[in-house]
Symmetry: C3
Subunit: 246 residues, 3 copies
């Protein structure tokens, strides 16, 4: 049993951040808040999502037996409902054998997905990123949009004092670069990896934030981190690199 109240638009942003990687997933509910850790069907992208108790206006976790409840949620269905519902105001969430989503006088009851049918929560791979870049999230989103016009992958990296993103089509090419002084932060070594654009594009659409932090290496995964609600929501994506076939 669980009962909580949260701002409608914040919940929508959280759900959209999750559905960038998975439609259905396990959700862990504890005294600390909500947590989702899941990988997509192709094992290319991982989300580690945390919605802390402070982000809620009310939060009652009435689990007696154990500290943590684990349920299976169809987040894409929840996203659909939140899109057409009342965007302003609060949403009350109540969990018993189903999840009850209350928007004003509307109560939407979402069946839980049997946990056994969902993939196990993945372990976080142990990764050491040599390079860290903090940049404006809107810039990042815009560059991804332009890159989508060109092809299906994007190169991201750091060379000396410069962070760069590159994409190319048969005829044309695109390069975005920011020097150390134009970034919010740049630290670490040179790096260069290629990633699938469709994953990054889905992730970038969830970034309605001011800044985003990237962790990079060479032919190495990408880690993207950003926060909502003054840090009460923490979203981390991991994306496997593509093998360069030249």
């Amino acid at each position: 049993m669980f009962r909580a109240r949260i701002d409608a638009s914040l919940l929508k942003e959280c759900v959209d951040a999750i559905t960038a990687v998975v439609d259905e997933s396990r959700l862990k509910i504890s005294d600390d808040g909500w947590r989702v850790r899941a990988v997509d069907a192709a094992n290319v992208a991982l989300i580690d999502f945390e919605l802390r108790r402070e982000a809620f206006d009310e939060y009652e976790n009435q689990t007696d037996e154990e500290q943590e409840t684990e349920i299976g949620i169809d987040f894409s269905k929840l996203s659909d409902i939140l899109r057409v519902g009342w965007r302003k105001g609060d949403i009350t969430l109540e969990l018993n054998d189903k999840l009850h989503v209350k928007m004003n006088a509307l109560s939407y009851t979402l069946s839980l997905i049997s946990i056994e049918t969902l993939r196990k929560e993945p372990k976080l791979p142990s990764l050491e990123f040599p390079t860290r870049v903090v940049l404006d999230a809107e810039d990042f989103r815009k560059v991804i949009k332009v890159a989508e016009k060109m092809g299906d992958h994007i190169v991201m990296g750091v060379s000396g004092d410069v962070f760069f993103m590159e994409a190319e089509s048969e005829m044309d090419s695109m390069r975005f670069e920011l020097r150390r002084e134009e970034l919010l932060s740049l630290s670490g070594d040179n790096a260069r990896s290629i990633f699938s654009l469709d994953y990054i594009a889905a992730m970038s659409r969830a970034m309605n934030v001011e800044t985003v932090t990237l962790y990079l290496g060479t032919d190495y995964p990408l880690r993207i981190e950003f926060e909502l609600a003054d840090g009460a929501v923490h979203i981390m994506y991991l994306l496997a690199p593509r093998i360069e076939s030249e």
Copy 2:
């Protein structure tokens, strides 16, 4: 012969209210104003529409012989034109053997449809509704939108002091309920009927109003009423219930 002037956006709302039920219909023009009463092809929905003389800025009904002129109009074509035309300002309507719709310097001439080819104006069925509910029109529209995500029908009714709307899919369900004190008005007995969502959805899109009045019964039709232009436009929909097959 008939000549009148009316606000462009009001005329658009009126035409959209009519096309929620019928594309083509008879239109009766008299000294009192315009009237449309029509049923859809499947005989499931009826509109009774009245646009009173006061809603017009100018109104000249020059019919000598009889009090009332009856013409056939393709309202969906008119809706199309009003959508792309000037939304602000007035529209002048002139009727002779065709309907001339003048927006600024543009005159659009709509051929009349031969009345013989159109269905007869239906009689209003004699109905006694045990229950009447007045609620916020935006709430009604939102609930219909959420319900459309779930299936093709909706249950509406009153149980004690509570007005409710319910929809369900194979897995999930939705219930909207407002208590007497949350409604603008609730009177009458308990009621419960099922309706096709596609009709109600079309009707609800025309409800750019503050409040809407519903008349309900048990396994009985639904009557929806709302007004535009401070009551100078009155719209009434009747919708047959669906037979519950459980």
Copy 3:
């Protein structure tokens, strides 16, 4: 070699004006600015486009050998990129063996199209238009939109003191007319020609301007002229008339 800086939204409007007629075209760059003169594949529409040096914030034409450089550009690709990029701020353009379009920290490199593969620049046909009309561009665009609902062609002309645009479908018809005193200017003789709507519709979407000037004759081409950036951009379309088959 060429280098210039220009407002992003102005460049977008220019490119959209060109793609109303051709996707790919020759572009002539000289000390005076940019010039495009091209006809569409069906030889029905011509654009004569001039973007004068004054419209740029910076302009360096470093061509030594000759006064004018001619390159081949895929304007529809450029339009695509400008649509998703930063709409505000400046764009820097640099030409060497490719065209480099710099928006903030993003540099988009567009391959040039070999000039030999592009149609030769057409000669401007020698035309004498008996009639000239200046009108509100928004009115023109609205009328074109309504006309598109009716069919695939439009009649434009002048009769006495009246400029008119007419379209018709099997059943209905539309007539827009403005008298001399309602126009910004009307001079010349009576005129009447028919034109394909799809060309005019594409052209009209580029007219984000206050006024547009039309040159007309009888069964004669249409010339449309408008300016952007206080006259520093001049756009002229020529459109062949359709033969009336009645």
